[in-house]
Every structure is written in C-alpha cells, then in structure tokens.
C-alpha cells in the first residue's frame, strides 16, 4: 500500500524567477526556488483538549502518526485532501488555522471504521473525525453540515418515539437542508418499486409513513435521554469556552 505523504509546502509559499542572475551566476528557474519562511505564532494550545472533550475525540492523544488510518480511508481514496492522520497532527500541535483550511471536508467521513480497525494505537480516528466536525461547527467555523443535520433529524425522532420511520427521516432531512423532496432519482426509485409491488402492499407502506411507529411506554426513556443530552451539551460548550446558555 502506498504511503500517503502530505507536502507542507504550499505553492503560494514558493517563489521562483524565470530569469535571475546573482553576482554573475545564472540562477534562473529551479536554481532560484525559494521557500517563504513560515512563522506560526497563533497556536491554540488547548485544541487537543477541546477535541478530546467532544463525543468521539477522547483518544486523540494516543496517536503516533503512523498514517495507517489515512492509508485505508475510504474518503481519502476519493479525495487525497481528506487526511485523518494529518488533521490529528494539526490538532495536537494546535495549528488551528491550518486545520480550518480543510474545515468543509471534516464532516465527510462515512464511518466505515476502516481507520479504527487499522489503528495500532486505538485512537478511534473515526470518532476523532466526528469530534473535529462538531468542534468546527460549535466554534462557528462552519455551518451545520448535511451530515450533522441528518444526525440531528434521526436522533430527535428516536428520542421522541423510540423508533424511526424512514420516510419521515427523508422528508425531515430535506426540509432541514432546504432541498426539494422531489429528487428525480428518488422518484424513479419509487416508480420502479411500485411497478412490481402489489397494490395492497404499497398502501400498507404509505400508511406506515402516516402512523409513526413507536416504542410503548417510552416517555421515561425520553426524559432520561433528554436530560442527559442537555447536560452533555453544557459540558461540551464549557470545554470549548463557549457561552453555556446559547444552544445549538
């Protein structure tokens, strides 16, 4: 398997002169390549702690940078800029600004658990990815990602009834993210399904979307979960030094 390297030199930090002579020596082209000095002075020294305090991030301190996670990563194979090993490095060093360059990618982890399976240090990188995405959102660096919107819709339905109903999830998610429900491919899928489904069966499915499935006597579980989640939210905000009262 290839080792995925990440160049720390950005193109905008490189200068090169097509024609240049210094003291009579021709240093045109590559001979004059110069890397701008980079001075980092704005570390966030609490960054690792902040991420460790959020759901999924607790083992970030164990990472020894072997890159097994990035090597096996599903999303990395589609987009080399998605680099868990590198982001964990940045977080542990406190290079907040550097991490924020990739802030719109953080939520794209598909939770395939390949990284957690491969990691020799039990960092649970998959969890760290989720914690980083939550961190960026809570700190106001990003909006609510589509993934976070989906998680919220899903969780709210479970907390309320103990179960989910897929049709309701789809409608709720599209509404939350301001997308039209009439996606051509979803329509095409329903059509294909309808074509070989007996009418009664189709009716039953439609009814299921009207009557929410529920777990009986769920009220006390709902209350217990709601109370716990409120506590956790306060704790998460406190860990990030954010105003504790302002909810998400």
């Amino acid at each position: 398997m290839p080792i995925h390297e990440k160049s720390l030199i950005r193109p905008e930090d490189l200068t090169e002169h097509e024609k240049l002579e210094i003291d009579g020596v021709d240093v045109s082209g590559h001979w004059s390549t110069f890397i701008e000095t980079r001075v980092v002075s704005d570390y966030n020294e609490r960054m690792e702690e902040e991420i460790a305090a959020l759901p999924g991030g607790e083992y970030i301190h164990r990472c020894f940078q072997c890159s097994s996670c990035t090597n096996v990563c599903t999303v990395n194979s589609l987009n080399p800029d998605f680099n868990p090993r590198y982001w964990i490095y940045l977080a542990r060093m406190g290079f907040e600004k550097e991490l924020l360059r990739d802030k719109e990618l953080l939520w794209q982890c598909v939770s395939c658990h390949k990284c957690t399976h491969a990691c020799p240090r039990d960092v649970v990188p998959e969890g760290v990815m989720k914690a980083m995405a939550t961190w960026a959102e809570l700190k106001g660096h990003t909006g609510v990602s589509p993934s976070a919107a989906f998680d919220a819709e899903f969780t709210e339905q479970i907390v309320a009834t103990g179960k989910i109903e897929e049709g309701r999830i789809i409608r709720g998610f599209f509404k939350r993210t301001g997308q039209p429900l009439r996606q051509p491919w979803l329509l095409e899928m329903s059509l294909r399904l309808a074509r070989h489904l007996p009418i009664l069966m189709g009716l039953k499915m439609m009814l299921a979307t009207l009557f929410r499935p529920r777990t009986r006597d769920w009220g006390k579980s709902e209350a217990a979960i709601t109370e716990y989640l409120a506590e956790r939210e306060t704790a998460n905000r406190r860990a990030l030094n954010l105003d504790e009262t302002a909810g998400r």
Partner: protein, 308 residues
C-alpha cells in the same frame, strides 16, 4: 447442525420494518422452513444506527442496552439475533463498552434506572448476526441436505459491508482461526450460499464501504462508492450481489438508480438478500421471500436461471 441457536430472540430493527422488509420476510420464512424459532424482542427501540453516536456515543449505547435488558429480563433467552449489520454492530458495541469502560456502565445504569427498567450487565446476552445463526444452527451440511432448487449457475458476489466486521475489537469471536469468521475475508455468506449450489465469484470488495452513512447527506460520494462496488461485481462476472444488511442493500439499490438517472451509468448486478437466495434454494416462492419488495428487479434473471 446443533441445538444451539434453535430458539433465539429476534431483533429486526427499524429498517426491516421499512425498506428492508424483504429481508424481514425472508429471514422469517427461512426460519419457519428450517424449524428454527424466532421470538421477537417485545417493545424494542431503535439502535441509533450510525447517527446517534455522533450526538453522543453513550446515548447510542443506552439504546442498545435497553434492548439487551429486555432480552435478559423479560425473555429469558440468552441469544439475540439481529439481521441488520447496524443493529448487530451496536449491540456488540455496547457489550464491549460495558465490559471495558466504567463510564458506559455508569451512564447505562443511570438512564435505565430513570427510565424504570433493568440495567443491562455485560455477558447476560450473546449477540449474533443472521449469518452466525444459520451457520451454527443449520450449517453447510444442513443446507445441502435441504436444497430443493439448487442455485447452480447463479454467479454471486457476496457483499458484507462495514459494520459486520469493523472495528475488530467489538467482535472478539472473529479471527479465531479455524472456521471462525474473518474480519478481513469474511466467508460465512460464501459458505452458506455455496452449499445452496451457487457459484461464488472472487469479489475483492466484500468489506468495502457503500457510503451508507451519507446516502442522503453526501449522495455523490455514496454514488461513487456504490458504482465501484457494482462495476467491480460486474467485472467479476457476478449476476447478483448478495447482501446481509438493509442499509447496504438499499444503498446499492438507490445509488444504482441514481447513477443511471443522474449520470447515465448503467450497471447490471441485481441485489438480493442472502436469506432470499437461501429461501429460493429451499424451495420457497419469490412472494414468500419478499423478492418483489426489492427495488432491484431480479425476476427475469431468476426465471432465466430456473429459480422462479
């Protein structure tokens, strides 16, 4: 064959009451045919799938702990079987976390008490997947003896997905050598379907990801991942991709359609749950197995192969 797993608690989960209904039907039909008892967990709740853990992992653990406590307290059965990879994964996960992390036990105890039900303790219930169940309770020989309608001539790529094998630490019984299940090269579905007469193609993407967690949140990524699965299966000569998870199954179906409608890329493999395939071999009808409830329409193919 053994008496082990002859009677198990059955945890279908939300997807099997919705898009994965064909999986539910075929699992029950196969159980009936084989004389195995499935007793549904009474008043179960959703396991939190892949979503609740991102809000809070301990709440996700509580959700599965509640289901396990029902099996332990109300059913007096020591094994729960979940056909859905997500449900199975989450039950395994809380089993692991409760044993290893004091915090999990603490949260589960606290929430269970507030909710007014027994709190689950590690080791009370064994969680198995539908594959473990059939492999142990019936086994290859048991299937071979009962085949009425061999799957001969049907080329199958077995797709196991992510949650059935990863991460390995929550599946202590896997990778134990011998015939035990492997997390890198799972083979239980291969074993069972081969016993039913099918030709199993060498499929390198058995445990690759279909992007199920972001099937709607990031559909382009999911479509790319699914296309990779479909096109590779096609290149391996597979007629069918056998599935063992409703999220994977509907992900493959949805994004096969999406690849066609949005990108004009057609792929041929049909998706069938492994229980539907086993059921066909055991002589059950397409209707009984809910094959008409799949989006992927395998009717013509099955007719061609003399299976319907």
């Amino acid at each position: 064959m053994s008496d082990k797993y002859k009677t198990v608690a059955y945890y279908p989960g939300c997807a099997l009451e919705g898009t994965g209904h064909g999986y539910n039907r075929s699992t029950k039909a196969v159980a009936r045919k084989l004389g195995l008892n499935l007793v549904e967990v009474p008043n179960w709740n959703c396991c939190g799938a892949m979503e609740v853990k991102n809000i809070d992992p301990e709440i996700q653990n509580y959700l599965s702990a509640r289901n396990l406590s029902i099996v332990a307290e109300k059913m007096s059965i020591d094994t729960v079987m979940a056909p859905c990879n997500g449900c199975y994964h989450n039950l395994k996960k809380v089993e692991h976390d409760i044993a290893e992390k004091p915090k999990t036990q603490e949260v589960v105890d606290r929430l269970s008490q507030k909710a007014g039900h027994a709190s689950y303790q590690a080791g009370e219930v064994e969680t198995i997947h539908a594959l473990d169940w059939l492999k142990e309770a019936i086994g290859e020989d048991g299937i071979r003896e009962r085949v009425k309608n061999s799957l001969k001539g049907l080329k199958i790529a077995n797709y196991y997905g992510c949650m059935y094998t990863r991460p390995r630490n929550i599946f202590p019984e896997k990778d134990q050598g011998g015939d035990s299940e492997s997390t890198y090269q799972p083979h239980y579905m291969d074993d069972l379907l081969r016993a039913a007469g099918a030709e199993i193609v060498d499929y390198p993407l058995k445990t690759a990801c279909c992007g199920g967690a972001h099937t709607l949140a990031d559909s382009d990524t999911s479509t790319k991942l699914v296309l990779n699965l479909l096109q590779t299966a096609e290149a391996c000569g597979a007629d069918v991709i056998a599935t063992e998870c409703p999220t994977c199954h509907s992900g493959l179906e949805m994004h096969q359609v999406r690849a066609e409608t949005e990108f004009g890329i057609k792929t041929s493999p049909k998706m069938l749950y492994f229980t539907q395939l086993l059921g066909l071999a055991l002589g059950l009808s397409r209707r009984k197995l809910g094959i008409h409830e799949n989006v992927s329409d395998a009717k013509e193919l099955l007719k061609q192969k003399g299976l319907a």
